[in-house]
Symmetry: none
């Protein structure tokens, strides 16, 4: 019973430390963090975590760094009922935020959203749009276009064979560009942060 993995707990503390300090702490600090008395314990912990692909060595073998699985997050099943846990092992498949919204890292750009012209599509000022460049845009896509030397996020529409830009806010007019419409990229995701 209560068969919870101690290493998961250790990993959690490492992840918390990393979120603050953006590095894997030294063996000595790991001891303080976990309550170990001996650096060997810390070292063995890292080796175990390496085996499970949570951490790895730098290419020059100088230090420990997080590996793929280090950034796994717990994804709750919305069926999960009142009982408590929803910890990583429980009703949760591993979920990586970055993999979820970024498909083509080399062609993906984050663009802060300014203004409320897309408010009715649930896109607010201050949100961050995940934009993929070099992908063909089609009718109905949300695209970042360049109009008057500025980025503009709108829905791409077609009217009489020509592209138009449709805001999702009745207070804004539809944009019917004359000549070429320069499309910067297609919006593939959105990230928003509350508070802080």
């Amino acid at each position: 019973m209560a068969e919870y993995d101690k290493d998961r707990d250790y990993l959690g503390r490492l992840q918390d430390y990393y979120a603050e300090s953006r590095r894997i702490p030294s063996l000595q600090r790991i001891c303080e963090l976990m309550g170990f008395a001996s650096k060997t314990a810390a070292r063995k912990l890292l080796l175990r975590l390496e085996g499970e692909r949570f951490v790895e060595r730098t290419p020059d073998d100088d230090a420990w760094i997080p590996a793929q699985r280090f950034f796994e997050r717990a994804l709750a099943d919305h069926a999960v009922p009142a009982g408590m846990p929803v910890s990583a092992e429980n009703g949760a498949e591993p979920f990586m935020v970055d993999d979820y919204i970024v498909q083509k890292p080399s062609r993906t750009v984050m663009i802060p959203v300014k203004g409320d012209s897309m408010i009715n599509a649930g896109i607010h000022s201050g949100d961050i749009a995940v934009v993929e460049r070099g992908t063909g845009a089609s009718k109905g896509d949300f695209v970042v276009a360049i109009v008057d030397n500025e980025f503009t996020l709108k829905e791409l529409g077609i009217e009489r064979g020509k592209f138009i830009l449709i805001p999702h806010n009745p207070a804004y007019p539809v944009i019917r560009p004359q000549g070429e419409l320069e499309i910067f990229g297609v919006m593939v995701g959105l990230v928003r942060r509350y508070t802080h």
Copy 2:
């Protein structure tokens, strides 16, 4: 002319190293990287970069870590005009969405949103809510509460000294729980993917 800043070049090499190794190298390695003969040069470089907010110290002052501006090229500047580089070539994008929205990894759970009761707050069905557990919730926060054995995402309000749950959709009623209100966690972020 062409008075280009040497430090920019150094910074670039640091960023390249970081893309591979996800850490700021030791003074010694910086010397190799930059061609310095003395560790002091490396140290002074870091101090200069710290002054410009490219790097900083960990909270426990143990080591150097990248700061905000270290990643700035990954974020497109909305003032940027048409031509613009936006660094598409440099494959490894240092900007991590995960870092951006997850502050306390060990206490953070991703919960898919079901239903449209928060549609007017720009939260759609199918979005993924980033929820932090064990954090005190206050009036005005979006919280995940447990009502009738199911997760419910609502705004936390207070009415006559009691907590209530306010939907952001006029079609839904305000929930006034009798007895204890079980709050699962506070919503700290949101992730959405546009599938195409």
